[in-house]
Amino acid sequence: MINLELPRKLKPAIDQASAVATSVFRPISRHYDRAEHARPSELDMLGAVVDGLNDAGQGEAGAAGVRRSKGTGENRNGSNMSTVLSIIECCWGDVGLLLSMPKQGLGNSAIASVANDEQLERYKGKWAAMAITEPECGSDSAAIRTTARLDGDHYVLNGEKIYVTAGDRCDAVVVWATLDRSLGRAAIKSFVVDKGTPGFELVRLEHKLGIRASDTAAFVLKDVRVPKENLLGDPEIKPEGGFAGVMQTFDNTRPLVAGMAVGVARAALDETRALLEEAGVVIDYDTPAEHQLAAAATFIRLESEWESAYLLTLRSAWMADNAQPNSLEASMAKAKAGRTAVAVTLTCVELAGSLGYSEDQLLEKWARDSKILDIFEGTQQIQKLIVARRLLGLSSQELR
């Protein structure tokens, strides 16, 4: 039957993530926001705990490759949903610290999604970041300029990558490079580059508006030789397939990023609600908004936008669990959640007055953290393009 409440069986995973958020992330949240680029060593132990749980088959808090499940006809609430729910809880704690969880990088998702068995074994236990963006290429990832040239048993990589999350702390970086720029997106492949490979140099760590606990790195690749076994997936240049396969990783991770936005927005709402109640503001769900204090009416408006973002996010995860193609719904979720998190966190600062603006509370930090969620892994504008093209049946040539 139609039901939008969460199943009891997912409660342990949610509680686990919530405990991490409350007892590990929140207490160190302000510290690492101020001490940008200091490594959050508290998370190493947490990483070990998560590993232990995953190995014992009890944990769900991993960035396991969110693979497509095969449909069985029976309704499933599976790993896509539980991962999204864990992420929502963790980001209620701290978005930057979630991104700094050891061995939970986007590169790990890519490896888990498209690697062959030999690669999976080789990179087991390694923390892998993902390097796609270049100074001249953000949204237009098909136009990347980092090249990979086959030379005997190695590929030789040359180029520049920026905005690599966990670039400093990771063990390896999954680098997108093109085998032949003239062949467009079909020639783009991903290569696992181990740290310490000669020519692979971290040149800068960014100073950012938010998620300052997360290290964001820039790399230069100068004649970096990687074994050809480090190419993830199929080395052949096919007209269709390759690029789409890598982009499919994004289809799967988009709901997770939406979940991050839902989590941080929820944190702001919870904190603001407590402050308003302390100030004597009563929030009533039955009384018309016109009869309540403006702050209460505004709160309800923010909460309703949050509810929309939350349910859209859950839906896209549910569809993935049930083997339903969810590209449209994932983009809707990411678009709605990204813009809602920014609007909610900023308005909560306003509602909370100086307590919202001062570093004494975390509200101002969440308003800074939320902004990136509407930008990375597909900007608001790109999500709208994807949604619009799907609805209108237009190609990227027609709707640009």
């Binding site: 039957m1 139609i2 039901n3 939008l4 409440e5 969460l6 199943p7 009891r8 069986k9 309704n75 609430n77 949903m81 769900y285 039955d286 009384t287 018309p288 908004a289 016109e290 009869h291 309800i300 408006r301 909460e303 309703s304 936008e305 509810e307 929309s308 973002a309 349910l311 859209l312 859950l314 839906r315 549910w318 719904e329 809707m332 678009a335 709605k336 504008q381 709208k384 393009l385 949604v387 619009a388 093209r389 609805l391 209108l392 049946g393 237009l394 027609e398 709707l399 640009r400």
Partner: protein, 486 residues
């Protein structure tokens, strides 16, 4: 239309024959007490005043300029049309053929998985409703809006399809073994995809049956529900909204004053669908000088009761629902007219009025979702076909992004509405979810209506296309309380 006062149609009586009388004749009194009641003093005769205005305008020499007189006459006609009251429609005699010993309540079921798939039964109902909406409702919508009336055949078909019985317990001849709030939402959504005004006309009477099913006493169920499952069920309306600014459904100005044996109701209700044709009303009134729960209570009022009068109240939208204003002037109802249930089947306390307000808000959300979907479905092919500057306008981000936002917000409205209904149906508290869904549907529903006109440009503004009607109808979501229930 030559007259603004539709005659009450002859009805098949349930238990006792009664003569068919035109609405303007004095209705049968149900008690000697009413017959003896004096008229209120110092009340100006509205008809005389209206006619005086008409007389003065008619005598004016200005009207003899070419073309002015017909226009002015139309204006005068409209002025009197809305100024004149009529007494409410005559109602059948509602009497229980058999008496229940206990009220029948649908059961609740809990689910333990997140799921967005309708059940097989729901899907069967939906397929039928979708056909009806597309093949019969939508083609009739423009004319119904212009005529401010829904054809009787459409309402009759809705009844035949079981839409008035969705929440009546199957033990009483209805279709419900379990709470059917989600089914109600799905039906309202898909019917509104045909037309919101017609959907309201088709669903409004069911709300009274639903209320009596959920909260009526054994006596109220015995008396009224059989009529709803028989042939030619009564028109009915659930009246909450009142015509004053900052209306709060929890602070209604309609009063119910305790008297020996019952209550006397006084007040005015606004935007009541098909008010002139209703045989039964469910009225929200505040009990004064009495003990009992705070807040308004619900009263079942038969239309033949003395003191009821109705006038047409056309509005920005919902025109096919033939909205009217219902005035209650010292309307005496017996004790048994009041809904007094305070506990649910599971023993938990319930405030029927509060529940009714929340459920009706969820129902309005469902209507908004269906109408907004109609807007999106209309706009998508339009912007792909419309060419400007050498290519379809859908190729421009300004247009494409608007469509993307419309569709995204619509999905959020829909999921929030489903969540509220699903919680209600499982017996979970749903006040928060109903409020959030309402907020989303008010704001984004209206935005979608506005964008719908915008995407058609000048063509969106004229009645050749339906988007202007959907713009007008979608504004109702923010204003309406009561009227429909799931």
């Amino acid at each position: 239309m030559t007259t603004d006062v539709p005659a009450a149609p002859a009805r098949t009586p349930v238990s006792a024959p009664r003569p068919a009388t035109p609405a303007s004749a004095a209705p049968a009194r149900s008690s000697a007490a009413n017959r003896a009641k004096p008229t209120r003093k110092n009340q100006p005769n509205p008809m005389a005043a209206a006619l005086a205005v008409v007389r003065r305008i008619a005598q004016s020499p200005l009207l003899d300029r070419p073309g002015w007189r017909p226009r002015a006459e139309r204006a005068a006609y409209h002025a009197t049309k809305t100024g004149l009251s009529t007494v409410a429609a005559v109602s059948r005699t509602f009497e229980a053929a058999t008496r229940l010993t206990a009220p029948q309540r649908p059961s609740t079921r809990r689910s333990d998985l997140f799921d967005l798939t309708p059940t097989e039964d729901q899907q069967m109902i939906l397929d039928v409703v979708k056909d009806f909406a597309a093949e019969q409702v939508r083609p009739a919508a423009a004319d119904a809006d212009t005529a401010s009336a829904t054809p009787d055949e459409l309402v009759a078909t809705a009844v035949e399809l079981g839409m008035w019985q969705l929440s009546i317990p199957d033990t009483l001849g209805g279709l419900a073994s379990e709470r059917a709030a989600t089914t109600g939402v799905l039906v309202a959504e898909h019917l509104a995809h045909g037309d919101l005004g017609i959907a309201v006309a088709c669903l409004a009477p069911a709300s009274v049956a639903t209320a009596i099913s959920l909260w009526g006493s054994a006596e109220q169920q015995s008396t009224y529900l059989p009529a709803f499952v028989a042939d030619a069920p009564p028109r009915a309306a659930f009246a909450v909204v009142e015509p004053h600014a900052l209306f709060d459904p929890f602070a209604v100005r309609t009063t119910a004053r305790r008297v020996a044996g019952g209550y006397v109701l006084d007040g005015v209700k606004s935007l009541v669908p098909a008010a002139a044709r209703c045989e039964l009303f469910l009225v929200a009134a505040q009990v004064v000088d009495g003990a009992g729960p705070a807040g308004p209570a619900l009263f079942v009022v038969e239309s033949g009761t003395t003191g009821l009068s109705v006038e047409a109240e056309p509005a920005m939208g919902l025109r096919a629902a033939q909205t009217g204003r219902l005035t209650l002037a010292s309307v005496t109802v017996p004790e048994r007219a009041r809904i007094t249930t305070t506990t649910q089947a599971d023993g938990c306390t319930v405030d029927p009025y509060r529940e009714a307000v929340r459920l009706s808000r969820v129902a309005w959300c469902a209507l908004a979702v269906g109408t907004a979907q109609a807007v999106v479905d209309y706009v998508v092919p339009y912007v792909n076909d419309r060419v400007a500057f050498g290519e379809p306008v859908s190729h421009r981000q300004g247009v494409a992004f608007t469509v993307a936002d419309m569709a995204t917000e619509l999905e959020g409205m829909r999921l929030a509405t489903y969540r509220a209904a699903s919680r209600a149906e499982q017996g979970l508290d749903f006040s928060r979810e109903a409020a959030l869904a309402r907020r989303l549907c008010k704001d984004h529903g209206m935005q979608i209506g506005s964008d719908g006109v915008q995407m058609l440009g000048g063509h969106g503004f004229v009645k050749e296309h339906p988007v202007e009607r959907w713009y007008r109808d979608l504004r109702s979501i923010a204003v309406m309380e009561g009227v429909v229930l799931v």
